[in-house]
């Protein structure tokens, strides 16, 4: 069992890639290479989508550059398609690694006919039924009480699943966060709460967000274990997540894992000038230096299985091609028309919506029904 409530983040690999505790046997060079591939893919997805944003082909994007170890590590620690995930809006690397098709992610960002959510949500708000990856809501922390309910249902139904609920550090200030975490704890719901603490909520730093020393200590007040992990060390993330997920699955009630990481890029397209506005270039540089991908590369090098520059370049190029192809396919599927507005509001189409749809059809087709 892993020690909860540590004062320092749990860590297996130092920033330069040297293991600081014995590397668990399951982290073979092959496995580590697989993780490296997932992380690079997530990073390059990010880069390509930021380009699409700059080109005006999508209108919103929330980068996760710097947070790959946290999201990829989490994805690789749960039973995908069996467990349920209530993610937040910065979780595309989590979704991607869980196997949500890249085409679906790109389509959602472009709002095309190939978008499973049918162009209704703003970009970067995915949902994937097959992966039990519940559609993202922009409203901060509003997924927390439903996640507790999802977990309560799993307990009630006795299905051996767990629920994963992710959020940023800012979300822990919302009443919904406290309400949901408390409810899960009181009912012993199998819910794994994961704080992706990237230290900023738009321009608000953690210190202005909470007076508690860390996020994970809040778990104590609700009666559940809280873990603090170096979120840029994928080995640590996976060691803690898989062990805690197992505890949660065994019926020991919910747990909170705080992954200490950093949002290297801007919060969203709205604050491209973050460095000028509210944080220092020094701070960003410090954390860029703690890059989770570089750390795995250091580890592989230490193990005598370095990733060659050529391999890396191939990986990057492959992801770029994959995204380009997805964009092409998505755009070729066309834009949903006015009809998508009225479907899925309810299970049926009540009479007032039928009338409104008829009105819009007449307007849009110049009177021809």
């Amino acid at each position: 069992m892993i020690q909860p409530f540590t004062s320092d983040p749990l860590r297996w690999v130092a920033e330069d890639g040297q293991p600081i505790r014995e590397l668990p046997a399951r982290f073979t060079p092959d496995v580590l290479r697989g993780l490296h591939r997932d992380m690079v893919r997530a990073r390059e997805f990010d880069r390509k989508l930021v380009t699409l944003l700059r080109q005006g082909r999508t209108t919103f994007y929330a980068q996760s550059r710097g947070m790959e170890a946290t999201q990829v590590g989490l994805a690789r620690s749960i039973q995908v398609g069996h467990d349920w995930v209530w993610p937040y809006y910065r979780d595309h690397a989590l979704g991607l690694t869980m196997g949500v098709p890249l085409l679906d992610l790109v389509s959602q960002c472009l709002g095309t006919n190939s978008d499973p959510s049918r162009g209704r949500q703003m970009p970067h708000h995915f949902g994937a039924e097959r992966q039990n990856f519940v559609s993202i809501s922009s409203s901060i922390a509003s997924q927390v009480p439903p996640a507790a309910g999802n977990a309560l249902a799993q307990k009630y139904l006795g299905v051996g699943e767990i629920t994963v609920c992710t959020f940023g550090d800012g979300a822990t200030s919302e009443g919904d966060w406290h309400a949901g975490v408390n409810m899960a704890a009181v009912n012993g719901a199998p819910c794994l709460f994961v704080c992706e603490n990237n230290q900023w909520a738009i321009s608000t730093p953690l210190r202005a967000q909470t007076a508690s020393e860390t996020v994970h200590v809040k778990a104590r007040a609700y009666g559940m274990p809280g873990y603090l992990v170096d979120g840029n060390d994928i080995v640590a993330v996976m060691e803690v997540m898989s062990s805690v997920a197992e505890e949660v699955r065994q019926g020991n009630g919910p747990a909170l894992v705080e992954c200490l990481t950093y949002r290297v890029g801007s919060h969203s397209n709205a604050d491209a000038d973050a460095e000028k506005n509210y944080r220092t270039r020094e701070e960003v540089a410090l954390w860029t230096g703690r890059d989770p991908i570089a750390r795995v590369e250091g580890l592989l090098e230490h193990l005598g299985h370095p990733v060659s520059a050529e391999e890396r370049a191939d990986l990057i190029a492959a992801t770029h091609r994959e995204v380009d192809e997805a964009v092409r396919q998505a755009e070729a599927s066309g834009q949903p028309d006015w009809r998508i507005m009225f479907e899925d509001v309810y299970a049926d189409l009540p009479v007032h919506l039928r009338e409104q749809a008829a009105f819009l059809r007449a307007e849009q087709t110049g009177g021809q029904a």
Partner: protein, 341 residues
């Protein structure tokens, strides 16, 4: 006169009396002047400090007035609103920003249970003169969590005043009046007009009484009534109709609670026709109340049924967001229908 103006005595004749501002600049200016005028005024919310707000409505204010007067809060609308209530009860003039009207939800209980009712439940012993500013409405590719028009929820709650300007002049005058007023005010800012709406704003101090509408255009053939983000399209529709020889009288409500019944009824009495425009979903839309009052007061004067152009009863769709909004064509078509009834 719908405007209460007070010019400073030393207003020099050389100083320009007005200059052009955008709606958001007018908001910033109102906040700056009120912060300077009254020590009890404080401005707070998520990212309003160093960042200056996500739309930059509070840009520069923290630098100018310091962190005691202009400050960031944790990410909790319930605390933002609740704290505003407590501060107001204790004698301050809080102006809170909720980052998007869509995110008033977590603060809803504080708005309707505390802010709206403290005067009433205490027999007037305690009051909460606060302002909650929040960007609302669509047209910015925000999808359904960044585009909603929730004003009806608040208009439905006794004890709250509800305001939504559409011009820089109004934005400044109404915000100042809201800050100086004695009641809680929900002040919606139509975000798609933040930079699109430009206009002349006086350099001298003025306020606009809450509850007074404005006539944007005079006409005798029908009355077109709107507020907030739809106003430019309402005026465009009126212009198009004018090209066809139809003169619409255009009214901007500016305040929903209270709203300017006299202005509206006077105009509809003259024209005999009313088309009401808003972008909020149609069901239980605030304009339903306006329609009800018109038909009750003027049933025998109406030449056509009062009609509404509203948003559809669907969550705000991302891809089709322009189709969702009542544009000038849809508004003009409704007018033609009323004219040919």
């Amino acid at each position: 006169m719908t405007v209460t103006e007070s010019r400073p005595a030393d207003q020099g004749s050389a100083a320009p009396a007005t200059r052009t501002l955008t709606l958001i600049q007018a908001v910033t200016e109102a906040l700056r002047e009120e912060l300077a005028r009254d020590e009890r005024v404080v401005v707070f919310g998520q990212d309003v400090g160093a960042r200056g707000g996500v739309f930059l409505a509070t840009a520069g204010l923290q630098a100018e007035f310091g962190e005691r007067r202009v400050f960031d809060t944790p990410l909790s609308e319930a605390s933002i609103v609740g704290v505003a209530v407590g501060m107001a009860v204790r004698g301050m003039r809080p102006v809170a920003e909720i980052q998007f009207a869509d995110y008033m939800g977590p603060g809803f209980d504080q708005i309707v249970s505390q802010a709206a009712k403290i005067r009433y439940r205490s027999g007037g012993q305690f009051t909460a003169p606060l302002v909650i500013r929040t960007p609302s409405g669509g047209g910015v590719k925000g999808g359904h969590h960044h585009s909603q028009s929730p004003e009806a929820y608040y208009a439905h709650t006794p004890g709250l005043k509800v305001v939504m300007p559409s011009t820089p002049y109004d934005a400044k005058g109404l915000l100042k009046a809201a800050i100086r007023g004695s009641d809680p005010v929900i002040y919606f800012e139509p975000k798609r007009l933040y930079r699109a709406s430009k206009g002349e704003v006086p350099t001298y101090d003025y306020t606009i009484e809450l509850g007074r509408g404005a006539v944007r255009r005079e006409g005798g053939d029908l009355t077109l009534i709107g507020y907030g983000g739809v106003m430019p399209d309402v005026e465009k529709a009126a212009q198009a109709l004018s090209g066809e020889g139809v003169e619409a009288e255009v009214i901007d409500l500016r305040s929903l609670v209270p709203w300017d019944r006299d202005l509206v009824l006077g105009s509809v009495e003259k024209t005999g026709r009313a088309v009401l425009v808003s972008e909020a979903p149609r069901t239980a839309n605030f304009m339903g109340e306006v329609a009800y009052v018109i038909q009750e007061a003027l049933f025998d004067r109406l030449l056509a049924p009062v009609s509404q152009v509203a948003g559809f009863d669907t969550p705000y769709p991302y891809v089709q967001d322009k189709v969702y909004l009542p544009g000038a064509n849809r508004i003009a078509a409704a007018c033609v229908k009323a004219l040919t009834y």
